[in-house]
């Protein structure tokens, strides 16, 4: 904690104030439901779903505890409510869109690959490659942002990477559905994706979206996936270090980097664990086999920073809350869909923090973060640029094309 | 009256009940301007039992009691009865030093114990008690601490009542309790001691700081019959320094930093008049020294105690020198007009006779309050302006600023000497005292110890505290027998 102003961690309890809106309070809600002390009311639904599942609570808890999984418990609570038929009304149309059109934005499936028109990319619904570039729903359909997808594939082409896209056959990763509590829908979507990749001979999925990254890396292994997962920023970092990307043009900007929750504290390397609890020293709970700690500190923090530091002319200044302590952008967990005011407020808090560094731009590595920041800045008096790290890389490569 | 004398004699013994004219006169007034009111009796109890019986008797007969422990001259009017028919409870016979414990650095004393009496006894155990500035030799330590008289070593002043710790008190209701940790044990101090319950912690017991209800109370809540006091280790080696200045403002930033670093023992800020008054043996000397001394002097004492005292002293001296240089001030061991040793000896001891403040002109009135240091220069201006308007010579005003509470609050004191035999001068000082007090209070000077006429001014500013204190008084002294009429309490009746 470096100041009073930027000392908070949990957007939900900061915005809503009642204790139920903190992780601890939500766990009590779960206990009260299990014990039959309470019934599901609108308030319960509100307190359970008005949370981005950013994972800050998880990190804080695990600093000192080995036996607590707050984030997992918060998800289980959502799964249970959804299964029992309780859901957030605003999520319904989103999920209908997921089931029918295979995306989270209520867009037409057939148009999913349109962003790639004219880019001469391998179509892995027909062809094969070991690397699939998974665009993600947001980059596929959001016309303000899909220049980042175009920049991404251009970078990969320039680096001579053999890859393809699924185009209109690309399915939503299902991560947002999962976080909204729709376990079955997620499972169905995951199965489809894994099948399609296997058929295409894919060994690695590269994605520019942190949401997808987390989903593929940490949720898909449980569903049987053995496919390696890289975020574009990791891949770019590797390519830079291998000399396959060279930065020719300076980018004279002062930027600050926002760690997306799903790339950072929820982007740690993951190995599925199955085991049991046992007690030692009388009452100390341990796990057999040992269960990894996942305290959020080993997410993808340095690769984006290495990339930014490698870009000539670029000055990186850090916010107070970075890495595993980052303040959420506000978009996750179904919050942007269901609680736009809360989502925007969360983003504005982050914009304030970014502006306090004196940076010209807030840089991230996730389209949902960027969408939320762009929307929030419209209502802020702090005018900052919102850029994706891939944009800056593309600028620095000096390819010349402007996809915006 | 005869009945009362008999009743009192049954409690303390006939030879300790006084109602002769001379005795009553002596207690009917002090050197303040409060109205002189004669008590009916003066009694001198010897133990807690007698004190409790006195208080119970007072409740039964509706007789005001005024507890008093220190010898004369007294200054603040708090021990002059505010109502007629009262009994002075003179506690000087209760002058036992009950315990001295070097390991826990605690002494337990009765109210009649004075600084002069305690100092040599503590010295035998390698300890001393932090003193105020030149207290009278006959000043009761407990009275001094209860009235929150400022002590000289700010870094030991963890809170304003320090070094006062636990107390035994006979409340105005006649009930007895012990304050602080002693309140958790039996009424036998010996038993507590045997059980290892040393009265070190001043807090409580439980959810009330009973000791704090007694501090600043001017005896209006109860009678303290013993108190434990935290002791310092007696330094093996000392050094005294002076920092001269033309204005107080020149010393302020340095003083703040000094307190913050908790560097040094005694830290005293005095103007030339006060300094001269401290050291001059008579009024001619005082006049002479006033001219010789710089307008302001900061007196800083450093000491070495326990292990490696010389090295402790050396490190402090070097750190002090660095600090003084950083602020562009001069650190001196001598000041023209006096010898270092003489000053050291003066501040380490009680006042010689006659009481030092009276040496200049025979009489003296003090105006004092608490403030943060940054506001002190303003209050000095207010004092001077008021003095000028009444043609009281500013060059006679002694100023003493004592950092307290490790530098957070400062006792600021103005001495107004006058010739008590000169009626005009006395009237002028009385007027000055009144006008200046009013002006200072109006400008935010915090008169935390509201003696005499200050009480009305202070409590008029703070209705809620007044209401709260009256409720508290009703609890601990329901029949208003304890020094009625002081502070914000009624002078007669419940």
């Amino acid at each position: 904690m470096k100041s009073w102003r930027f000392s908070k961690g949990c957007p939900s309890v900061e915005y809503n104030n009642f204790h139920s809106y903190s992780a601890g309070g939500r766990l009590v809600t779960a206990l009260s439901l299990l014990d039959g002390r309470i019934k599901v009311t609108d308030r319960v639904i509100d307190s359970v779903f008005k949370c981005q599942l950013c994972g800050n609570c998880d990190v804080t808890c695990k600093m000192c505890r080995f036996d607590m999984e707050p984030l997992a418990a918060l998800r289980e609570l959502r799964f249970k409510l959804v299964e029992d038929g309780y859901t957030v009304p605003q999520h319904k149309p989103v999920m209908e869109g997921f089931r029918k059109q295979n995306n989270m934005l209520n867009k037409v499936k057939a148009k999913r690959g349109d962003w790639a028109d004219g880019l001469n990319l391998k179509d892995l619904s027909k062809d094969k490659a070991e690397i699939v570039f998974h665009t993600g729903c947001r980059y596929s359909y959001d016309n303000d942002l899909n220049h980042v997808a175009k920049a991404s594939v251009s970078i990969l082409q320039k680096a001579g990477v053999d890859f393809g896209i699924m185009g209109k056959e690309e399915n939503c990763c299902g991560g947002r559905a999962y976080n909204m509590g729709y376990l079955k829908d997620f499972a169905a979507g995951a199965a489809n994706n894994i099948k399609a990749w296997t058929k295409a001979g894919v060994k690695t999925v590269v994605t520019p979206c942190a949401d997808c990254y987390y989903t593929f890396k940490r949720l898909y292994p449980e569903a049987g996936s053995e496919i390696k997962v890289l975020h574009m920023v990791e891949f770019i970092n590797q390519l830079v270090k291998q000399g396959k990307i060279n930065f020719k043009k300076p980018v004279p900007m002062r930027v600050t980097y926002h760690d997306p929750c799903y790339l950072g504290r929820q982007g740690e390397p993951y190995i599925p664990w199955k085991g049991k609890e046992k007690k030692i020293f009388g009452q100390v709970v341990v796990y057999e086999p040992r269960r990894p700690r996942y305290n959020g500190a080993y997410g993808i923090y340095e690769p984006p920073r290495d990339v930014l530091r490698a870009i000539p002319g670029l000055e990186l200044v850090e916010m107070e809350r970075i890495k595993e302590a980052a303040w959420c952008c506000g978009a996750g967990g179904g919050v942007k869909e269901a609680y736009p005011e809360f989502s925007k407020w969360t983003a504005k808090e982050r914009i304030e923090e970014a502006a306090a560094t004196g940076a010209d731009a807030i840089v991230s590595a996730c389209p949902w973060c960027e969408r939320n920041f762009i929307d929030a800045i419209k209502e802020c008096d702090k005018k900052m640029k919102v850029v994706d790290i891939i944009e800056l890389v593309y600028q620095a490569i000096g390819d010349g094309r402007n996809f915006k | 009256m005869e009945i009362k004398k008999e009743q009192l004699s049954k409690i303390v013994g006939a030879e300790y009940v006084f109602n002769d004219s001379q005795t009553l006169e002596a207690y009917a007034k002090d050197l303040s301007f409060v109205l002189s009111v004669k008590p009916r009796f003066v009694v001198k109890p010897k133990n807690v039992d007698e004190v409790q019986r006195l208080v119970r008797w007072a409740n039964e007969t509706n007789t005001p009691l005024v507890p008093l422990s220190s010898g004369p001259p007294r200054f603040h009017g708090d021990t002059v009865p505010s109502t007629p028919g009262g009994v002075i409870v003179e506690l000087s016979r209760m002058n036992k030093i009950l315990r001295i414990d070097r390991r826990n650095r605690i002494t337990i004393i009765e109210p009649g114990v004075t600084y002069s009496q305690l100092e040599p006894e503590l010295a035998k155990e390698g300890m001393r008690v932090t003193m105020p500035l030149l207290p009278r030799g006959n000043k009761s330590i407990i009275a001094s601490l209860l009235e929150r008289q400022p002590t000289l070593i700010p870094r030991y002043n963890y809170s304003l009542p320090e070094p006062l710790r636990d107390c035994g008190v006979v409340w105005g209701s006649g009930e007895i309790s012990y304050t602080g940790h002693a309140g958790n044990g039996s009424y036998s101090l010996d038993e507590q001691w045997e059980a290892g319950n040393i009265p070190v912690d001043p807090r409580g017991p439980n959810a009330t700081d009973f000791m704090r209800l007694l501090t600043g109370a001017q005896g209006s809540m109860g009678i303290v019959v013993w108190a434990s006091v935290k002791c310092e280790i007696l330094p093996s080696i000392r050094k005294l320094f002076f920092i001269p200045a033309n204005k107080l403002e020149d010393l302020i930033d340095f003083s703040y930093r000094l307190q913050r670093l908790r560097l040094g023992d005694e830290v005293i800020l005095v103007n030339n008049v006060l300094f001269a008054t401290m050291l001059g043996k008579n009024s001619d000397q005082i006049r002479d020294l006033k001219e010789k001394f710089p307008p302001w002097v900061m007196i800083i004492g450093i000491a070495g105690r326990a292990l490696y005292p010389e090295e402790k002293l050396d490190v402090q001296e070097k750190d002090l020198t660095d600090l003084v240089q950083h602020f562009g001030l001069k650190l001196q061991t001598e000041i023209a007009g006096t010898a270092n040793k003489e000053v050291l000896n003066t501040i380490l001891n009680p006042s010689t006779e006659p009481y030092w403040k009276l040496k200049y002109k025979g009489g003296c009135e003090d105006i004092f309050f608490l403030t943060t240091l940054d506001k002190a220069p303003h209050y000095i201006q207010v004092m001077y302006a008021t003095a000028d308007a009444l043609k009281y010579p500013a060059s006679d005003i002694g100023i003493y600023i004592q950092p307290q509470h490790q530098g957070v609050s400062h006792h600021c004191e103005f001495n107004l000497p006058f010739n008590p035999k000169d009626a005009k001068e006395m009237a002028k000082v009385k007027e000055l005292y009144s006008k200046a007090s009013e002006e200072l209070i109006g400008q935010g000077a915090y008169f935390a110890r509201p003696y005499g006429m200050w009480a009305n001014l202070v409590y008029n500013r703070d209705a809620q505290s007044t209401m709260a204190l009256r409720k508290i008084k009703k609890i601990f002294d329901p029949n208003n027998v304890m020094n009625p009429g002081k502070l914000c309490f009624k002078s007669i009746g419940k």
Partner: protein, 549 residues
């Protein structure tokens, strides 16, 4: 128990509908309390539910709420960051309104020169420390850690921590307080009441603050504290608290003018002697017996594995079998932490020299492994910020504190062997964590300048296991028996247990105290300031003419 429609409406009119709720899920999040399971029927995790939770934004709103509570005879229970199971409603039969002060969270002013800050109840120690360190200042952080409310500890509870020895107890440090009494008056204490600023807590005349708090405060049972000023201390370190390392291996580099030591002594007599000599020589900035909270038998292994993110508690089981860990465990058996801070390099060197001499005289030593850079820097971050407080719960999620009778080091050392023996005995059946009989943690001094301590036994139980919970409760009862049978008063556990008692049992225990008049005085104070009895039992009183049956 529910709030009448009228009462609810009047309260809602004060704060707005988004700041009050009587939804059961909200209420339960306040009723659920750590430690409740030790005292509630069927080991329930819940204390009584409040009738509603309300969140005011200002002192005026608190006052208005208080008036409504008086009108409808609703008990009022303020809460900031909370800690024990007495933070919420206490009695099932009471209608209690939980007043959650989290919206009152501003630092109003930092007066660097005069060394105090003015804060609202939801300002936590870490926030204020971060802000004042920028100015070269520091604050006393209480033992319950950096996430606790300053106003709560200063005005309403205790106020001691590892920094109390040098920086003062919060009862020393509290300056002006703003108090909304149960009858709805606003009392501002000390200089604040006179309009003279926040800097002085005493007076005018007798100090009204004397009824606000003593050894403890009223713990929410006698009104609401809405602001206070708190005295600060010098910080001779860097202006930013720059933590290095990757979670969990956080480290705070040690500047040249600091030393961070874990010291050990050969006996409890030597422990007391060492403490007295530290006091006498006035060395030390932070002084605490911290690491033994994890138990003297398991602690050393835990501390060495904690900072390795690849390790888990399973590793503790393996480590304690290793010969070097066994040796270290014995070395650390009677140990504690001391951080020295010098105002200059020469000052710190002399402090070091003095410490060496003290250790030579008492037979103590610096524990080499824990004084190595990694462990020293870990100790530094732990004790300076005291943000690792959740470690109290590290073993299995439940911990209770027993013993902790306050006293001189000579007094404390007398009960230590009894406490140690008792915990070994109570944990022998495997229903409590077997971390060692010495799981005693405590401040170097709970009185500024030294002279007073107290050691709290950290007894760990599994809150999800009814038998373990029952063993925890039993331990507390046994601890009382152990103490009393040795002529030592009951410790902290007595307060914990009292939350499960009916009034009569509480009164009986108060009446058995050595000077029960204290509780009669407190009853009278309550009658004067809380005539409608809207404060709860956290402010202890005895009924008039009470006699034990």
């Amino acid at each position: 128990m529910t709030l009448s429609k009228d009462a609810y409406q009047e309260l809602e009119d004060i704060v707005g509908p988004e700041n009050i709720s009587d939804d059961p899920s909200i209420l339960d999040s306040y009723a659920f309390e750590w430690l409740a399971e030790l005292v509630r029927p069927d080991q329930s995790h819940y204390m009584p539910r409040p009738v509603a939770v309300i969140m005011p934004a200002s002192t005026e709103e608190v006052q208005a709420i208080t008036r409504v509570c008086n009108k409808y005879k609703i008990k009022i229970k303020p809460l900031s960051t909370g800690w024990y199971h007495w933070a919420g409603p206490i009695k099932d039969e009471d209608d209690t309104l939980q007043v959650d002060l989290r919206r009152m969270n501003r630092i109003l002013e930092i007066d660097e020169k005069n060394m105090f800050a003015i804060v609202e109840p939801y300002v936590i120690c870490a926030q204020l420390q971060a802000e004042v360190m920028k100015r070269g200042l520091n604050i006393n952080i209480i033992g319950a850690g950096a996430s606790t409310s300053i106003v709560a500890s200063a005005c309403a509870y205790a106020g001691m921590g590892p920094s109390t020895y040098w920086m003062g107890h919060n009862s020393d440090n509290v300056l002006g307080m703003e108090w909304v009494t149960p009858s709805g008056e606003i009392i501002r204490t000390g200089s604040l009441g006179s309009g003279d600023g926040w800097f002085c807590s005493e007076g005018p005349g007798p100090s009204v603050r004397g009824i606000c708090r003593g050894f403890l405060g009223s713990r929410g049972g006698l009104g609401v504290y809405t602001k206070c000023a708190i005295k600060l201390s010098h910080w001779p370190g860097p202006t930013e608290f720059i933590v290095r390392g990757t979670l969990p291996a956080f480290r705070l580099p040690i500047p040249d003018n600091f030393r961070v030591y874990t010291l050990a002594v050969p006996s409890w007599d030597a422990w007391a002697d060492t403490y007295y000599k530290i006091y006498d020589n006035e060395i030390g900035y932070i002084f605490h017996r911290q690491f033994t909270l994890a138990g003297a038998d398991l602690g050393p292994a835990l501390w060495l594995t904690l900072n390795d993110h690849t390790k888990t508690l399973n590793d503790v089981e393996e480590m304690i079998k290793k010969p070097d860990i066994k040796e270290l465990t014995e070395e650390l058996r009677i140990s504690f932490q001391l951080i020295l801070a010098g105002r200059s390099l020469r000052d710190i060197e002399l402090q070091d020299k003095i410490l060496d001499q003290i250790l030579a005289e008492t037979g103590g030593w610096k524990v080499k492994r824990f004084c190595e850079q990694d462990m020293a820097e870990f100790t530094n971050v732990y004790l300076q910020r005291l943000g690792h407080k959740h470690l109290n719960f590290v073993w299995v999620g439940g911990y209770l504190g027993s013993w902790m009778q306050p006293g001189t080091p000579d007094f404390v050392k007398k009960y230590v062997p009894i406490a140690i023996k008792g915990l070994y005995r109570d944990a022998a059946g495997g229903l409590l964590v077997q971390c060692g009989g010495d799981a005693l943690m405590g401040c170097g001094s709970t009185v500024a300048g030294g002279g007073w301590s107290g050691l709290e036994q950290f007894v760990s139980y599994d809150p999800a296991d009814k038998e373990s919970i029952k063993a925890g409760t039993k331990h507390m009862e046994d601890a009382i028996t152990d103490a009393v049978s040795h002529g030592i008063p009951a410790g902290k556990e007595a307060i914990y247990l009292s939350l499960g008692y009916k009034d009569e049992k509480v009164w009986a225990s108060l009446a058995r105290s050595q000077q029960p008049i204290i509780f009669h005085f407190q009853r009278k104070i309550k009658e004067a300031f809380d005539p409608n009895d809207i404060g709860d039992r956290n402010y202890p009183t005895l009924p008039e003419n009470y006699k034990i049956e």
